[in-house]
Structures are given as structure tokens and as C-alpha cells.
Symmetry: C2
Subunit: 361 residues, 2 copies
């Protein structure tokens, strides 16, 4: 069992990391203040975990929302289902929402909690590696818009995060790999020793060795918690968490959300960001090669999709939130574990890197 | 010209109150930080003020959203129009939204600003008396749900509020009266001298005398600003601003949003709250009679609608946000200008007061 605290003053909260965590409700029931609880989950997770979870809530007044599974449903329209259920069951401001699922469930449940009666409490119970190490930590919540990912949302911090490693046993290989993209990201952007540890242990991690997983999730959350504590609302340093994400969002938008998993798009996007850093003369090519190799060993794509062209990439990247007054701000590396947010890359250099990576002109 | 500051630490902002205020853009252009501006208004206001307003914005990159007019359109679906426009025009995190309209426009524009890319800046330009003295001040934003009013929203403070009294010249009488309900409310809940001033000046106010209006808007905003500064997120004292609102929301829900104006429902609701305070032995009957008389002189209804029954009232009141763990919390008076938030009123006493007021059993 490993615990850490995300330090955000009066909005601080604990992240509990362990196998068999959810079953031990004595560890977390104290984070539900009121009588009413609404569990938000999806069609895939509900048959696996919902009944067990409800049984652990004792005397609470429980309602549930089972959303369709997938990024394609992360919309305002689906969000309405959560509000409908809360109001039909007369849930008041004292209610606690519980996100039982991956990143999509967490982002939507968190956003519903941010908006329901102008804000109620919620708890994250991530069931995927991706959501354990990334989306459940840091308070970003929201939904997609047809014209862009995560364009509608709020910063809303949970009461606690329960990362139960046992839940990873039911995770399909492809989704496990997608989570590894964000794990590897922490090594690249701010933790060279962790990157080396991942290189040494990638085989065991891909076999989902319990002890290695606990360490990888803990180090990832620790890195994320440090960055978020410095910059809760993304005024500055927090942006480094978006390594590969501007390229990645373009891929997700072009391919349709869910066809490329978020982690897969981020993996290909990080390789592009590293290649751009090399092209700018900021990064030794060996880091690009090591990054690419580690991502491949984690079962991830390292090249952009074949059906996109350069103009499409640039246009979709221009829609990303990380644009300020027309200048594309990208996370780039100046060494392994050393990241910067920069508007220095000229558009024609970005286009060149995309073409070299095989994107059509 | 009167100015006051809503003191909320780093979220503090000015409220400017004057005739001919909007036309004098030197006074307020400084509150728009970026290059991009999105004006949110409605079909009624647009023909009156939109072109003039746009002309004042100089070199800004402007887009506009013209919403249908009315509380019936204060929904998530209508909100989507604002997001569509922002994204179609590539507005980024540096954009400023401007709410040019009454309470519905302000609540929706503010909520859109709270959620767009997890929060952008906005300015309130209230065009109705109601929104000048109430909804544009204090940062409450949101939309309605078929099962309850303002059930989905956020606290999001504007950069500034521009209360241009000249805009009240185009306001229909019925809406002017609805605004007076909230003006009178401040006297009742926390400012006995202001209540007496209103009694002395109600005839001139109803003729929309400029000097009297400036004073009434200023005193109302001052009272609201003081209460909000003490309790930004409605943990306690801010709730006194809801005098009559739990009864009022029940009326609005039962009658369909927009058929009874918000201020009209609040007026009838305040009379019920005062009657309940008298029934509990907390308030002298003379205050009830004076309140009723002042509301009537302002052209407002002082009795609940004839087609509601007691059970319907109680059920709809139970859905209001001001319920915590099953107990109905109401704002009641213990004297003119002395309000309390209390769960002490038994349901049968509330039912009795409703019946005495003419509501069917």
C-alpha cells in the first residue's frame, strides 16, 4: 500500500494505491460525507464491479448511472443522463458522486460533480492504468465537442482517488498499453531516473507484475501531483504534462475519438514532439531512439496514422487549447527529463518533421 | 456615476453604475485583456444594442451568439450554441465573453465562460433591472433542468459589471416590476433604512426617475456585494439572498419557466416567507403588511398562482437546492432587515400558511 497527498491547500486530497483497496472500505468510506451517493460507471465496468461496490457502501442512499462505453459518448448530451438521475432521485448538495471507470467516466463524473447544483463532492475510482496515472489525478474534468477534445469542462478536485491495482487484471492489453504511454511520459518530461527504471523493468511491467505496477503507478502519480501542486489551473508549468498531446489531439480528432485510444495518440504524438526537439537541435537523437523503443516495447504506435496529411495536422493542432493568440505552444524536450513549453518551433519546421515521420504533404 | 468593488480577494471586480456608461468605452475596455471577444445576447436585445456595442470594441476580433429570448431556453442545449460559435471561430483561452442581456443571458454566458476550455474571462452588461441588482453580481451562473431551476452551473466571477441605467428605458413595465422584487428583497433581508427609503420613493422609482434608480441599483448591489464577499460559495450567510426563492422556484417550476417571471415568483414567495415568519411568532404582522404593500405598489403579485395545490408546492420545494439531508431550509425574518436561515418550520406549518394564502389543499 502506497499513499500520497496532492497538496492544493484546502483542496488537498489523498491518492491511495494498493491491490485489494476497494474491498477494504474502512480505508475510504470516511471520504463520503453525506447520506447520498451516486455511482457513475459504464456498460463495460458495471457487470464487473458495480454490485460489489454498492455492497460496500452500507447504509448509503445509492443511485447509479451506467453510461455507454467510449470516448464517442463523452458529450454534453451524455452528461445530461447524470443530471437526470441525480434529480429524479432528489439528490441534494450533500451528495457524493463516485466515478467508477476509466478516464471518460472520471472526466464526465467529475464535470457533473463540478456543475451539479454548482458543485458537489466526488471520488475517483479509476479502473484503467491510464486513468490511475493521469486523468483521475489533478482535477481536470470535462467533455468533448465535435470540434475539439475536452473543450468544455472545469477544474474540480475529488475528495480522494482510489487506485486499486487489482482492477487492472481485467484490463485489455491494448488499454494497458495506452496507459503505459502516460507512465513513460513522466520519465520523459521530468524524471530521468524513472525513465531508466522503466527501461529496466518494461518486460515485467507488461506482464503486470504487482510490485512493479505499484511502483510505476506511485511514481507516476507522485510526478503528476508535484507538477499539479505547483500550477493547479495550468497557468504555466502544468502544461509540460501535455507532451505529445497537441499532436495527439489532432490524431484523435481526425480519426474519430475512440478509434485511436488517447494513449496511442499521445504515444505517436510524443515521438513527433521528440523528433521536433531533435530537429530544433535541442535534444540528442539518442533520447528520441530510446523513447521510441520504450514505447514500442509497451505495445504502442510510434508513427502517425497514414490517412492524415500535413495541413490537416496543422489545422487541428491550431484548435488545441494550448494555442494563445495564434501561436502554437508545444511541449518540447531539452534533454531526458527536461521539458519546456515553447512557441519557438516555426510552422514549416513542424511540417518538415511531420513529413519525415511519413505524413503526406 | 457610482462604482463599487466586490471584494473577493484575487477574484475581486468592480461594478460600474451610471447612465450612458456603455457608450463611454474608455471606462471599461481595459477589462478585456485579449484580442478575441464573443458577445452573447438574445433576439430581443440584439436589435436594440448589438451593433452599437460592437462598434465600441474597436480592433477586437468579434463573434456573436444571438440566443432565443426567455427562461425556457436556459438549457444545456442552448448553451451548446455558445460553444459551437466559440469553436467555429477558433476562440482560445484568452477570449473574453460579454453577456449583453438580462439574467438568462448573463447566467448562460457566465456558465459558458466557466466551462469553455475550463474557464475564460467574461463581463456582465445587464440590460434589465433584475440582472443589474441580482444575477450579474456574485458569480452564480448556470442553466435549468426540466426538474429544477439553476440545477446545473458554476461559481464564476466576471471581470466587471457594467450597469448602464440608460438601458432600462427600453425595459417593459412587467420586467421592470420583476426587478423591483429583488430591490425590495434587500430591504427586507438586511437593510431596514433602505426599505424605508423605498417606501418613501416607490412612486418616483416606478416612473424610472434617473437619480432614484441610480441610488436603488447602487444600494442593492452594495447589499449583495457585502453578503457575497462574506460567503462566496453559499456555505452560510449568502443563503439569505434566497428570501422567497424556495417558494418562488416551486411556482416557476409548476407554471413553466417564463410564464411567471422570476421576480414575480419571488414576490409571491417573499410574501409567503413573511407570512410563515409571522405564523412562527418571529415577525410582527405589520412588516408582512408593509412588505405586501410595497410589492403591490411595485406592480408585483403577492399571492401564489391559483392552479397549484399544497402537495405540489411542498414536493417542488423539496427539490430546491436549499434542502440538506431531507430538511427544508428557508430564509425567514425575525424583524425588518433581520433574516435567518432556518430548518425550524414544520411541514404542517408551511402547509397551513400556503392554505391561508389561498393554495388548494
Amino acid at each position: 500500500m502506497k499513499n500520497l497527498e496532492l497538496d492544493l491547500g484546502e483542496r488537498s486530497y489523498p491518492i491511495l494505491i494498493s491491490r485489494e483497496l476497494v474491498g477494504n472500505s474502512a480505508l475510504w468510506l470516511k471520504y463520503i460525507a453525506g447520506r447520498q451517493v451516486c455511482i457513475v460507471t459504464n456498460e463495460t465496468i458495471a457487470p464487473l464491479y458495480l454490485d460489489n461496490f454498492k455492497a460496500l457502501l452500507g447504509e448509503k442512499e445509492i443511485c447509479e448511472v451506467i453510461l455507454p462505453d467510449g470516448e464517442a459518448f463523452k458529450t454534453l448530451a451524455t452528461l445530461q443522463q447524470i443530471f437526470d438521475t441525480l434529480l429524479e432521485n432528489n439528490h441534494n448538495r450533500g451528495t457524493t458522486l463516485i466515478a467508477l471507470g476509466g478516464g471518460v467516466v472520471g472526466d464526465m463524473c467529475g464535470f457533473a460533480a463540478a456543475c451539479y447544483q454548482r458543485g458537489v463532492q466526488f471520488i475517483q475510482v479509476p479502473t484503467t492504468l491510464l486513468s490511475m496515472v493521469d486523468s483521475s489525478v489533478g482535477g481536470k474534468t470535462g467533455v468533448n465537442h465535435p470540434l475539439g477534445k475536452n473543450m468544455i469542462g472545469a477544474f474540480h478536485q475529488p475528495n480522494c482517488v482510489l487506485a486499486d491495482l487489482s482492477m487492472l487484471e481485467t484490463l485489455p492489453d491494448r488499454e494497458f498499453s495506452a496507459g503505459m504511454a502516460e507512465v513513460i511520459k513522466y520519465g520523459l518530461i521530468c524524471d530521468a531516473p524513472f525513465f531508466k527504471w522503466l527501461e529496466d523493468n518494461i518486460a515485467g511491467l507488461m506482464r503486470r507484475d504487482g510490485g512493479l505496477l505499484e511502483e510505476a503507478v506511485y511514481q507516476s502519480c507522485l510526478n503528476k501531483a508535484r507538477v499539479v501542486a505547483e500550477d493547479e489551473r495550468e497557468g504555466g508549468r502544468r502544461a509540460i504534462l501535455n507532451l505529445g498531446h497537441t499532436f495527439g489531439h489532432a490524431i484523435e480528432t481526425a480519426e474519430g475519438y475512440g478509434n485511436w485510444l488517447h494513449g496511442e495518440a499521445v504515444s505517436a504524438g510524443m515521438v513527433l514532439a521528440l523528433a521536433l526537439s531533435v530537429e530544433l537541435g535541442w535534444l540528442d537523437e539518442s533520447v528520441l531512439l530510446r523513447g521510441k523503443q520504450l514505447l514500442q516495447m509497451a505495445g504502442l504506435p510510434v508513427a502517425p496514422p497514414e490517412n492524415m496529411n500535413v495541413d490537416q495536422f496543422l489545422q487541428l493542432m491550431g484548435r488545441d487549447k494550448k494555442v494563445l493568440d495564434g501561436r502554437l505552444r508545444l511541449v518540447l524536450l531539452k534533454g531526458l527529463g527536461v521539458s519546456v513549453v515553447s512557441s519557438d518551433a516555426p510552422e514549416n519546421t513542424i511540417a518538415h518533421v511531420l513529413r519525415v515521420a511519413g505524413v503526406r504533404a
